[in-house]
């Protein structure tokens, strides 16, 4: 996953800021046949496995098996051969799963104008190419509520990879969610500088617990922070998939990918011949599928769970989470009273809300 989301979707940000161009309907030639190209191993326990787990339900939509090739690195020489082979065999809907596929998918989509391309966490779009990513701040907001509800000290820890907008918004939403349950809750963040470094993740989680954190949230790719939380007898919240699989006692909530819910209707539309690729990519939230929560663990009281599920419904009904008045941790006003954040504001989020303790 490392490079996948790293600078992800800058184009989306620009797209969101610019007036939308008219969407064009794209029809594939003949009956649609889907194939998936995975970035990581299909059992990576995270990003790639989430797509693999969406596959059976997509197969049901298509009424046919969907072949997968996994461990395809992010360079044209690795991506092109499997995609070309799929196309030769008559596949005309190709789903990719990496930021680093963006350029190659763009070229392939121009070379094969009759084939539909979709790419998760990509940044390129076209008449037959659509990039997509989930609104993970929604699911991490709910995980933050869980963390605030189960924390006794009100001191939450968060292990994150790098301070990029896609990570910053999960941290900020986590803190806002926690505050909803405990107005004094703070989130202390340790950035490890890597998506996949269990040694650093373990050190970060242990250091946070040493400093009194009693819930450990995360936005890194391995389940290590959850495992440390369980070893140390505190709680945690996961990312990518339901990490209670790894730390059943600790993990009380996980932000998960629900690609079947987003890709299902996309494939239905392709089948029906009325698919309109979003000119600036798709950015689905809990409502449209893409992201959601696996909630809640046994430490969450029924009353808290009710509140969390009500908040989930409010998000589906349009709660923007980042709404004014909202100040950053230095006291500067970021959103005036009554203002809501727009997608461009999300994609360039380089500030932290009050209550977040983080390096600069």
């Amino acid at each position: 996953m490392s490079k996948v989301r790293i600078c992800a979707l800058v184009a989306l940000a620009i797209g969101a800021a610019t007036p939308t161009v008219a969407q064009e309907v794209f029809k594939v030639e003949g009956a649609p046949k889907v194939a998936i190209v995975l970035f990581g191993p299909k059992n990576d326990g995270g990003w790639s496995q989430a797509f693999e787990e969406a596959r059976p339900s997509l197969e049901k939509v298509m009424g046919a098996t969907i072949p997968v090739v996994d461990k395809v690195p992010e360079d044209a020489a690795s991506i092109t051969p499997p995609v070309e082979r799929f196309i030769q065999r008559g596949h005309n809907v190709i789903i990719g799963t990496a930021f680093g596929y963006s350029d190659t998918f763009k070229k392939l989509s121009e070379k094969h104008p009759k084939v539909a391309f979709l790419n998760a966490s990509g940044i390129t779009n076209g008449p037959n190419l659509e990039s997509f990513y989930g609104r993970t701040y929604q699911s991490q907001y709910l995980c933050g509520m869980v963390a605030g509800a189960v924390s006794k000290s009100g001191k939450l820890g968060f292990v994150a990879a790098n301070p990029l907008p896609v990570v910053n918004w999960t941290i900020n939403a986590y803190e806002l969610g926690a505050k909803k349950m405990n107005p004094n809750a703070t989130v202390t963040v340790v950035f490890t500088g890597a998506w996949n470094n269990p040694v650093k993740e373990r050190a970060a989680a242990a250091a946070l617990i040493d400093q009194g954190a009693d819930v450990i949230g995360q936005h890194v790719d391995t389940p290590t922070p959850q495992i440390v939380a369980q070893e140390r007898g505190v709680y945690g919240t996961g990312h990518h998939r339901d990490l209670s699989e790894f730390a059943p006692k600790a993990t009380q909530c996980s932000s998960i990918w629900t690609w079947a819910k987003f890709l299902g209707p996309e494939l239905e539309a392709i089948k029906a011949g009325n698919w309109k690729p979003q000119p600036y990519g798709a950015f689905p939230g809990i409502k449209e599928g893409g992201t959601d929560v696996a909630c809640c663990g046994s430490a969450v009281s029924a009353e808290a769970k009710e509140k969390i599920m009500a908040a989930r419904q409010a998000i589906i009904d349009g709660d923007p989470i980042f709404a004014g008045p909202l100040k950053d941790r230095d006291g500067k006003e970021r959103l005036a009273a009554g203002a809501k954040i727009d997608d461009a504001g999300l994609w360039k989020m380089d500030w932290f809300v009050e209550g977040v303790v983080a390096q600069q």
Binding site: N43, K71, P163, A206, A207, T222, P223, Q360
Partner: protein, 312 residues
């Protein structure tokens, strides 16, 4: 404050041990004249095999780590054959080994389902009542067995290298293979075995990262520590004790960075992440400046293949 210091110092050996063991392994091989740039790869082999032995064969952590040492030594025979017998350029062969091991360990790990599977791993052993002594207890008497063993491993290797006939022959091969050859030493044989012995220590360092520290396997999890060990050996000028001191310095920095962040110290994140490398640069410059004009202490034939027919 005192708690912070104690827990920082107590965490340092866990971060220092892989650097120390890998650097020691590199010194063994480089003292015999073979530049083992494949360290990162051998570490990965040790890391994945250690985990695999635990997950698939139910081995306890210690035997699993021994198996990891054997595996790394076996993989290193490929490297040794390339550079000792076939006389292939050691830098290129070392780089190839890193890429080969990265691919092979990722493949094995995902093929057998070892990726992202947590396990108990190497436990901390509290040395009876000693562990309850304030300040010193947690630092000296509550570590795991590899950390207790590391000083002994260093003493043993230093003894063999500098106090035995075997060590003398090994160093002779690294300083002047022609002279060693003339004295009747089997240069290729000594180099081959030195590479294997070094790789087994590097494999132990890798297994410690997965079995001792992280208690999980993910692809490429050594994340450059093998390369830091390579640099460590250069700035330690091929001395095991200086390498140990360097490893402790690195371990201390690596242990400190997350602690400062968790304590809410607001420092620029990227500055924190580059501190180990800043330290490498600083120490190398310091040593280079301090040693100006002194005799070179690099093994005389480091990186040079020995071909008897080309004897000078």
């Amino acid at each position: 404050m005192i708690d912070f210091l104690v827990s920082w110092i107590a965490n340092t050996p866990g971060f220092a041990a892989p650097y120390a063991l890998a650097a020691l392994g590199l010194i063994v091989s480089e003292r015999a004249g073979v530049l083992s740039l494949g360290a990162e790869g051998f570490m990965l082999v040790g890391a994945v095999i250690g985990v695999g032995m635990i997950l698939s064969f139910g081995m306890p952590p210690l035997p699993a780590m021994v198996a990891a040492m054997v595996a790394a030594a076996l993989v290193s025979t490929l490297f040794a054959a390339l550079v000792v017998w076939l006389k292939i350029n050691q830098v290129i062969a070392g780089l190839v080994m890193v890429f080969f091991c990265q691919g092979a360990t990722s493949l094995i790990g995902s093929q057998y389902g070892w990726t992202n599977r947590p396990f108990t791993g190497l436990p901390k052993i509290e040395l009876g009542p000693l562990a309850n002594v304030p300040v010193l207890g947690p630092i000296l008497a509550a570590q795991d067995v590899v950390i207790y063993a590391t000083p002994a491993i260093f003493l043993g290797v230093v003894y063999v290298l500098f106090r035995t006939h075997t060590g003398l022959r090994l160093r002779a091969v690294g300083e002047s293979p022609e002279a060693a050859d003339a004295a009747g030493i089997d240069v290729s044989g000594v180099r081959f075995l030195s590479v294997m012995a070094g790789a087994s220590l590097i494999g132990l360092a890798g297994a410690y990262i997965s079995v001792g520290s992280a208690k999980i396997w993910v692809e490429d999890m050594t994340s450059g520590r093998g390369w830091i060990a390579v640099a460590l050996v250069i700035f330690a000028r091929w001395s095991p004790w200086r390498a140990l001191a360097g490893a402790i310095l690195f371990g201390a920095i690596e242990a400190l960075v997350p602690k400062l962040a968790a304590a809410g110290v607001r420092l620029p994140q990227y500055l924190m992440l580059m501190t180990p490398y800043l330290a490498t640069l600083g120490v190398m410059i310091w040593i280079a400046a301090a040693r100006r004009g002194a005799a070179p202490d690099e093994p005389g034939a480091l990186g040079v293949p020995h071909v008897r027919e080309e004897r000078r």
